[in-house]
């Protein structure tokens, strides 16, 4: 905080180097969680990057708890696990870059871990789209609101207009 005040007071122009020190362009590469993900030894760099972006979203934007990363050996990808809030059940998140492919078998593998699964698709502009995947048949929610049977009222109205 003090550093920043000093800079604005003293000068004319903001020293680019100072800004870089504070917000280096490659800050992701230095982030501890990213370094941890790197250490998981997953070859697909794009997938690791996607996983990191999802991690940041879950922790800093949505404030999820106990978020950790792990390697899925069968799929050779970085998976995330976390809770929506304190005490909530654990969930698995599969982060994938949008240009990649998904097969049903991989989905079944992640479901096999036993936690509810979220698929998160990461676009090139880092837009994130989450989707729920569940084993079996999940009945959709019924339509909301009161469903009124208007009977023949509609037909009667039309008739009157004639």
């Amino acid at each position: 905080m003090n550093e920043v005040t000093e800079m604005t007071e003293s000068t004319d122009t903001l020293c680019v180097d100072d800004v870089d020190d504070l917000f280096p362009h490659n800050w992701i590469l230095h982030h501890p969680m990213y370094l941890r993900m790197q250490s998981l030894d997953v070859e697909d760099g794009a997938q690791v990057h996607a996983a990191f972006l999802v991690y940041m979203d879950l922790t800093e934007v949505r404030h999820w708890k106990d978020v950790s990363s792990l390697k899925c050996p069968e799929l050779q990808v970085v998976l995330l696990e976390g809770r929506e809030k304190e005490g909530a059940p654990m969930q698995s998140i599969l982060p994938l870059p949008v240009h990649q492919y998904l097969n049903h078998k991989s989905v079944r593998t992640v479901l096999g871990r036993g936690f509810p699964v979220l698929l998160c698709v990461v676009a090139s502009d880092s837009t994130l789209v989450y989707q729920r995947m569940t084993d079996g048949f999940v009945t959709p929610d019924p339509p909301a609101g009161q469903i009124q049977d208007h009977g023949r009222r509609q037909h009667r109205k039309r008739h009157q207009q004639h």
């Binding site: 949008v98 492919y101 097969n103 049903h104 979220l118 698709v121 084993d135 009945t139």
Partner: protein, 314 residues
């Protein structure tokens, strides 16, 4: 009776009957066999069901199909269509499987023909008898009321006072002596049963071989396995052309329920572009249906189902 509907489809020269038609004993389903055979006609590669009884039997077996014929009184609309019922490839296969396993009528056809004809003759004669009796009763009533009208008219017009005893006397005479001649009986000729392959020898001539399983694409094989498994779980299935999936899955008869699921059949190792996965899930949530990814495990393995839902995380 059943008027054959005018259909828009042109029948190709090679119109084959795949299965023998239902052997109704008395024409209108008076003799119900435990597994009624459903007559399926192939027009090219399209399977059609023409008779109402067969359409009903197919529905009871869980096969919904889609009506594609024009209604004779409303030909210039396609909001409501009539027979024939067009069957999808999976529906056709399911019905044939059921009928192949269920029935042994085919094997006993030569013997049963004689018996069937005997039963049909007896039924016909019984119908004629009861029809004659009913008609003679009605004719007698008609005569009586005509007599009464004549007597009443004569009374009013002529003014001659006939004693009331005369009317009842005449009615009694009529009761005792009235004979309804056989030649005056009205006989109904049914036209519904006439038609292609009513006779057994026509049937054998026209029965066609099944398209070989080697010709079936692997994708249609997986579709059929999913179809059959869903049917066994008690769901009703129709085609899902409007929703971009393979099938629409209903928890009960489509006339009573909205669909719950859009089924998309994929192989377990088939690579799906992620944008397609997102697109179909988003579509499903917009129409309040869950997208079901269905993959058959193998010839004897169970089918795997995964439900895709919009997460609602904005």
């Amino acid at each position: 009776m059943d008027a054959t509907p005018t259909a828009e489809l042109t029948s190709t020269p090679g119109q084959h009957v795949v299965e023998p038609l239902q052997d109704g004993g008395g024409g209108d389903g008076t003799s119900r066999r435990p597994h009624p055979l459903i007559g399926i006609h192939l027009c090219g590669s399209t399977a059609l069901v023409w008779r109402t009884a067969d359409v009903k039997a197919a529905r009871e077996a869980g096969v919904v199909g889609s009506l594609v014929g024009a209604l004779p009184r409303q030909p210039r609309q396609n909001g409501r269509l009539g027979r024939p019922l067009q069957l999808g490839q999976e529906e056709l296969r399911l019905l044939l499987e059921k009928q192949a396993s269920g029935d042994d009528l085919e094997s006993s056809a030569p013997n049963s023909d004689g018996e069937v004809q005997q039963a049909q003759t007896e039924c016909y004669e019984e119908e004629q008898r009861s029809s004659f009796e009913a008609q003679s009763i009605l004719a007698l009533e008609e005569r009586k009321s005509a007599l009464l009208r004549a007597m009443g008219g004569a009374k009013q017009g002529g003014g001659t006072s006939q004693p009331d005893g005369g009317v009842s006397g005449r009615l009694e005479v009529l009761d005792q002596s009235f004979v309804f001649p056989r030649s005056a009986v009205a006989v109904q000729l049914r036209t519904a049963r006439a038609g292609l392959s009513h006779c057994s020898d026509e049937r054998t001539l026209l029965s066609a071989a099944q398209p070989g399983s080697s010709q079936r694409a692997p994708r249609s094989e997986s579709r059929f396995q999913v179809f059959r498994d869903l049917r066994q779980r008690g769901y009703y299935i129709t085609s899902a052309g409007k929703f971009g999936g393979d099938f629409l899955v209903y928890p009960g008869d489509p006339l009573r329920f909205h669909a719950h699921f859009i089924a998309v059949c994929v192989a377990l190792d088939e690579q799906l572009p992620l944008v397609d996965v997102l697109a179909v899930a988003r579509l499903g949530s917009n129409v309040k249906k869950t997208v079901l990814l269905c993959s058959p495990g193998g010839p004897a393995a169970p089918v795997h189902y995964t439900s895709l839902q919009w997460s609602g995380m904005v």
